[in-house]
Amino acid sequence: MRRALLGLMAAALVAGCASTGTEEGSGVAVEDRKPGAGGAAGSATSVPIGTTTIPGDPLKDPASPLAKRSVYFDFDRDDIKPEFRPMLEAHARYLSSTPNQKMLIQGNADERGSREYNLALGQRRADAVKRTLVLMGAREAQIEPVSLGEEKPRCTEQTEDCWAQNRRGDLFYSGEF
């Protein structure tokens, strides 16, 4: 019994030494893990450890569909084209899962014609994006649709390419605008 105990203590000592050595030698591997995911110093590496990844802010992950923030429209139109639906579904899911999150949608219009009428066209686009997000599960009160009209063009040349870039709705979460 005593011998068995001694044996265990020796094994623990060896393990302790070994773990210290491993920790020093594999600093890079540890740094890779998010803080808090690893155990206290001295935990045995011989035990298999699954890698836990703490999700970063999905709004800041460039690989997330939430990174897509612009919806483009055809001339004088405010219907949401099919290619923007997956992106809007991701935003609607996110809004519905984070009820405290708020969103500002800024609608834009190309520069031709009256500034106030273009403001109204931008509003119609922002309203259309909001309506779609609400149909997909976001809450009405989470989203404020507003218009910048033709006042903040992304592209300033007088070409159809440029105008198409300016017929746009942009999505912003709290703290981003």
């Binding site: 500002l104 800024q106 031709r112 014609g113 009256s114 500034r115 106030e116 009428y117 403001l119 109204a120 066209l121 509003q123 119609r124 309203d127 404020e144 649709p145 507003v146 218009s147 910048l148 009209g149 006042e151 903040k152 007088q158 605008f177």
Partner: protein, 437 residues
Amino acid sequence: MELTYNRPFFSACRTVERLFRILAICLALLATAAHAQLTIEITGAGGNQIPVAVVPFAGESALTPAISDVIEADLARSGRFRTLYTGPQNLSDTSTVDFAPWRGKNADALVVGGVYPVGGGRFEARFRLYDVPKQAQLGALAFTLTVQQARATAHRIADFVYEKLTGERGVFSTRIAYVVKNGARYQLQIADADGANAQAALSSLEPIISPAWSPDGSRLAYVSFENKKPVVYVHSLASGKRQAVANFRGSNSAPAWSPDGRSLAVVLSREGGSQLFLMNADGSGARRLLSSSAIDTEPFYAPDGQSIYFTSDRGGSPQIYRVAAAGGPVERLTFDGSYNVTPRPSPDGKYLAFVRRDGGRFQVSVMDLASRQVRALTDTGRDESPSFAPNGRMILYATQVSSRGVLAAVSSDGGVKQRLSVPAGDVREPAWGPFLN
């Protein structure tokens, strides 16, 4: 007002003096001076011009600018006068005029005057206006002024001459508001009608649009994007104090004053879409004027305050409509073309200026509201924001020349054309201010 030649003008003089006092306070309290001055280029002349000779005023070299130069420039710019070269003359308001040489020059009218120091840094400017063919005096006035008031005094004299000779009020003493974009900076500027004395009332890194003068000329309503969305402000020019009068959820835009200055028509999206609302001028009591699923925007009161013109796409394309200010049925006014926007009734209520798209060109056009006949007034193709002078004679608007925003003006008969530009800046969103008395 020590000197009065014609008794009927006495009360006018008192008003003028009061006005100068108000004007001086306004100018002193306005924000930073704007560096870029508007310059005006006359690009088209009207017909039936009255030939007028403005003789340099005796002693006017004491003042800058010379009073007669400003009077002459005002009259010429209106397009209704042909100013005749007079050269130096030994003539003033105290001279006995020999009309023969002026008849020889075919002058219909003659302006003579003098500037006299009266002590305390003040001057008296006196002038007489003569009808040359009749060899008769049409009127005379005297003003006391400081050196700083030389230009304003000259505008008052030009207004007097204009009214005596045309039967209409002159607008040389009125002011205009407009927005200048210079790099990333937007400035709401106020200038005299001739572009002089430009001052910035507001400077911002976010857009400013749709300035609208209160009927008494003391305040401007406008839309500012400083909060990342359009919000309607009312800005007192004398104090620089500004108040957000429409800052509801969604967009707030297109302010228009009722002629009594008590109400504003605005466009709000707080209930979805862009819809017309009326509110008190302090922003209280917002109430919906019309209900539609279409865009309703760009409201503008008729001068009698009884109806409101607006732009709507309820018929499938943007067209101009009219509704009673109390609400009720809506009447469509434009049918020709697929884009008719920005309705602006003339001060007498008989005409409607608006922007019409015709084959890719956007042009200021005028409708005779009695006959409903429409005609394009300009030869430019990117016109926006027409604004009538308070006497209805000229329409100020924004357009583009070589991709740069400039202001232009055209007479309501299309005859006289001018261009106003700021060097190295984009100018847009003009609004001609009211008469100030």
